[in-house]
């Protein structure tokens, strides 16, 4: 879905990065093959899904046309006139014209008549004119463009191109003469079989050297043509580490604090903590992160921690890996501010929930009963209260992962961490669809894991819950 609607054509970009900027004339035929090749590699020469909705007028092979702008324009023409066979003929005549224009060489006998400067101007004019026809669908504009070319080709210089343009003109008038607009209003369903982009993406294809997502192959990045899976493997640990550490820290701080302020409800301690947490809760994380950098990583203020530089330790010292003591010592300062920022954003939320649920629980009858039995306060709160008070926090656990990864987009950009959040931000700006899809798939998987963990925790905390069938 995303790849269909994205405004830029990935093929165009990859082809452009592969071919050096060449002049207008030599570009078309050389890059045509390359374009087809890249399309094949990305699987874009296939239909999108197993079935798709279209009208009787439309071609079922439109996706085979290499340039996406041409595809779009042809489909618009079809919507206007409804006669695909004529439009196809028109398109192939346009292709002929483009080819002829590209290969056009001025007759040597005429060289004397035109200065070389003028010759190039004419040539470029004809190439541009022929190319722009591919992108036009408005009747007036096409006629205007054809007449421009027509006057140009009246010159003796272009006498060889004139008949080709004539055939284009003829084909176009044929389109307009034989409109079958009614065909546009008859829905059809096309069946594309297993050879489609979705199937290829999911299951892969040995002929195309694609593993498919079920084998862990997410395809290749549109930006640098590297395997998305490898890129993810490289970046995932940073984000995962930060998210996990921050969640653990947040829970470690917020749960005891929540219990204590619920226990001491309406005392000075509780009020101060509540107000503080409430304020934290209302501060946007990107503001906190920027402020942390401003306070603690600023040569004019306090230069306690470096502002960014979380990266693979091998870039600091070739011998270092993640687990060396030296490396850890070197790495630690870089992680301090990010971890604070990451922890902070989930801390406030967790703490508030913990406090509220604990207050609810401590007001319940069974707590009074427990106290009446003469149990120690410690026992009452930790044994009888906590177990029930933990339930809302556990429910929340499944939503922690998506939220943390979403939050990491901003935080990783601020701290320059080479993790998934920053990468997905760049991928989105660069419309790198395989990357985006991979991130969404992964967060989906993490969320499901979150659900699983919270279900297991439920069973541990609350003995009444049992998942086995009776």
């Amino acid at each position: 879905m995303i790849s269909l609607n994205s405004p830029t054509d990935p093929v165009e970009r990859l082809v452009n990065s592969a071919v050096n900027e060449s002049d207008l004339s030599s570009e078309s035929s050389a890059s045509e093959e390359l374009r087809q090749e890249v399309r094949k590699k990305l699987g874009l020469d296939l239909p999108v899904f197993y079935i798709n909705l279209s009208s009787l007028a439309e071609s079922d092979t439109l996706y085979r046309i290499a340039e996406r702008s041409h595809q779009e324009n042809l489909s618009k023409l079809t919507k206007l006139y409804g006669n695909w066979s004529e439009i196809q003929a028109y398109y192939s005549s346009l292709k002929n014209l483009e080819k002829a224009v590209g290969q056009f060489k001025a007759d040597s006998s005429l060289n004397a008549t035109y200065s070389s400067n003028k010759l190039t101007t004419y040539k470029n004019k004809s190439i541009l004119g022929a190319k722009s026809l591919f992108e036009l669908n408005d009747d007036n504009k096409i006629i205007e463009q054809i007449s421009v070319l027509d006057t140009l080709y009246q010159l003796r210089l272009f006498s060889s191109l004139n008949p080709i343009l004539k055939s284009v003109k003829l084909k176009y008038s044929k389109i307009k003469r034989n409109t079958t607009n009614w065909k546009n209003y008859i829905p059809t369903i096309q069946f594309n079989g297993f050879l489609n982009q979705y199937h290829l993406w999911l299951f892969g294809d040995s002929d195309r050297n694609r593993g498919g997502v079920i084998r862990g192959d997410f395809g290749k990045s549109y930006i640098d043509n590297k395997s998305v899976g490898d890129k993810m493997l490289e970046m995932f640990p940073y984000s995962f580490f930060l998210v996990i550490i921050s969640i653990i820290l947040a829970y470690l701080i917020s749960i005891p604090l929540g219990i204590y302020s619920a226990y001491k409800k309406d005392t000075l301690f509780d009020n101060v903590v509540s107000v503080l947490v409430f304020m934290l809760y209302s501060l946007p994380s990107f503001f906190v992160a920027t402020w942390l950098l401003y306070q603690f990583s600023n040569p004019d203020n306090l230069l306690w921690f470096p502002s960014n530089g979380v990266k693979n330790p091998a870039t600091y010292n070739n011998d270092w890996s993640w687990y060396d003591m030296d490396s850890i010592k070197h790495q630690a300062p870089y992680f301090v501010l990010p971890i604070i920022a990451f922890t902070y954003s989930s801390f406030a939320f967790t703490n508030r929930i913990m406090r509220v649920s604990m207050i609810d629980v401590l007001g319940a009858d069974y707590i009074r009963t427990a106290r009446a039995k003469g149990l120690s306060e410690r026992h009452v709160i930790l044994k009888h209260g906590l177990r029930n008070g933990l339930l809302p926090i556990i429910t929340m656990f499944s939503n922690v992962f998506p939220a943390a990864i979403g939050g990491s987009v901003i935080l990783e950009t601020i701290f320059g961490i080479p993790g998934m959040g920053g990468a997905v931000y760049e991928a989105i700006l660069g419309i790198d669809i395989p990357m985006i899809v991979a991130v969404f798939t992964l967060t989906g998987a993490l969320t499901v894991t979150g659900y699983l963990i919270s279900d297991v925790l439920y069973a541990i905390v609350d003995p009444r819950i049992s998942y086995s069938k009776k």
Partner: protein, 442 residues
């Protein structure tokens, strides 16, 4: 209770007033709304009133309605015509002038105070004599400037507008979607809404055909309309929706009529609850921020409206869940049973009897939702996604401060503005929760 005869609404307001932080927040919110509404009068690079060559003008008010408003003066028997927008009135000798509180628009570039003019240090002005002097008090950049010399205070004032608008409109969309889907899911459940088999299948076919004629064949016309302008585009979209709805309803109606024979007449239930719950789960499993960035990257044209719509379309799940739970509770009530016995239609029971009783938690959720929508918007504009570059928001102000650590005023003031707004909404939400909670009514 001393007074017995008060309505629920009066009671809730009374409870709300008892909660001092919430009440104060409410007044601050009113103040923020006033700031947002009056922002062109509070911060403007045109004077509110000025006397120039013996003629009185009201440039700020005139340019508010017409950006190219112009004035005329007579000098040496020649008529001089000028556009207010084109002149930096600070550098002109005026006989008398009344400036707005902040004499800058958010995008006014003050070239003598660029490169982060400090709020407390002397700022400069080139006056009508062409001499650079210290900026007079009334024209100061009270909260400093950014790299290009744009006024921060003015940006903050206009940012209030954006934030409040984004919060209200996106949550408005979310509430509408959440109410409809949540109420349907909760009230009908998985087998509450039954159709005859023929109508069931024909309705699905109808949806399919409606999509084809409403959107697929009209795609060219739709694109054309959106190219012509946003109003034509929305109108065309509306037309498409009407076509689609008409087709669906017609075919569904035919399906109801042809339900003859035991096979076609057999009742089939639509699992609305399951469908809505799955949609909610899918939306919840995605990081909303990433989703929004992706969508706004695809739409490529940066627009505030698109941003609000996206936030609204992704933010309804919480409300839908709440209202679904409320509906599950309410539909067991006796008065709903009574309504059914009296032969009221489902629509009437939901809208007139069930929904009003389940609305209280929605207000609370709305207040919190507005807060988080504002957070999302400011986060997005901090990243530079979604909001057009010439629209000044708190998030975009903050991101300007990232480039230069010296300029703390670029970080602190917008941060505080966001903080205050979010706190205000959250406190109001808490206040509403306490006030509307029926447990307190005893």
């Amino acid at each position: 209770m001393i007074e017995e005869n008060i309505t629920y609404r009066q009671f809730a307001w009374k409870q709300f007033k008892k909660n001092k932080p919430a009440l104060v927040s409410f007044y601050i919110l009113i103040l923020l709304v006033l700031l947002a509404v009056l922002s062109p009068i509070i911060a403007n690079d045109q004077p509110l009133y000025m006397k120039y060559k013996d003629t009185s003008f009201y440039p700020a008010f005139e340019t508010m309605f017409n950006e190219t408003a112009s004035g005329e003066v007579i000098e040496n028997e020649d008529t001089i015509n000028f556009q207010f927008q084109n002149i930096d009135w600070r550098t002109v000798q005026l006989e008398s002038v009344c400036w707005p509180l902040i004499a800058y628009s958010p995008n006014t570039i003050d070239k003598y105070n660029r490169d982060y003019a400090h709020p407390n240090f002397p700022q400069r002005l080139k006056n009508y004599k062409g001499v650079i002097v210290e900026l007079p008090r009334g024209l100061r950049h009270y909260l400093g400037t950014d790299k290009l010399g744009r006024d921060i205070a003015s940006g903050l004032i206009y940012g209030t507008r954006i934030s409040l608008l984004v919060g209200i409109i996106s949550m408005g969309i979310a509430v509408v979607i959440g109410l409809i889907l949540g109420a349907a899911a909760g009230y009908f459940g998985n087998d509450g809404l039954t159709l005859s088999r023929s109508q069931y299948w024909l309705t699905w076919t109808g949806v399919f055909i409606a999509y084809f004629y409403g959107f697929y064949t009209r795609s060219l016309a739709l694109e054309q309309a959106f190219n012509d302008g946003i109003i034509q585009g929305v109108f065309s979209l509306f037309l498409s929706l009407i076509i689609a709805a008409l087709i669906t309803l017609t075919i569904s109606f035919i399906g109801r009529k042809i339900a003859i024979g035991s096979f076609l007449k057999k009742e089939v239930s639509i699992p609305i609850d399951a469908i809505v719950s799955r949609i909610i789960e899918v939306l919840n499993s995605m990081p909303i921020l990433i989703l929004i960035i992706s969508v706004s990257a695809i739409i490529s044209e940066k627009s505030l409206w698109v941003l609000m719509i996206i936030i609204g379309l992704t933010g309804w799940t919480g409300i839908a869940r709440l209202i679904r739970a409320e509906m599950l509770r309410i539909k067991q009530m006796e008065y709903i049973e009574a309504g059914k016995v009296l032969g009221f239609s489902n629509y009437r029971i939901i809208v007139k009897h069930a929904l009003p009783n389940g609305l209280a938690p929605i207000f609370v959720s709305f207040a919190f939702g507005v807060a988080s929508a504002i957070l999302t918007e400011s986060g997005l504009s901090f990243l530079g996604v979604g909001v057009p570059d010439d629209v000044v928001t708190w998030g975009s102000l903050l991101s300007r401060g990232r480039a230069e650590f010296e300029a703390w005023w670029l970080v602190i003031y917008p941060g505080v503005a966001i903080f205050i707004t979010i706190t205000v909404y959250n406190l109001i939400g808490e206040g509403l929760r306490d006030a509307l909670d029926p447990k307190h009514k005893k």
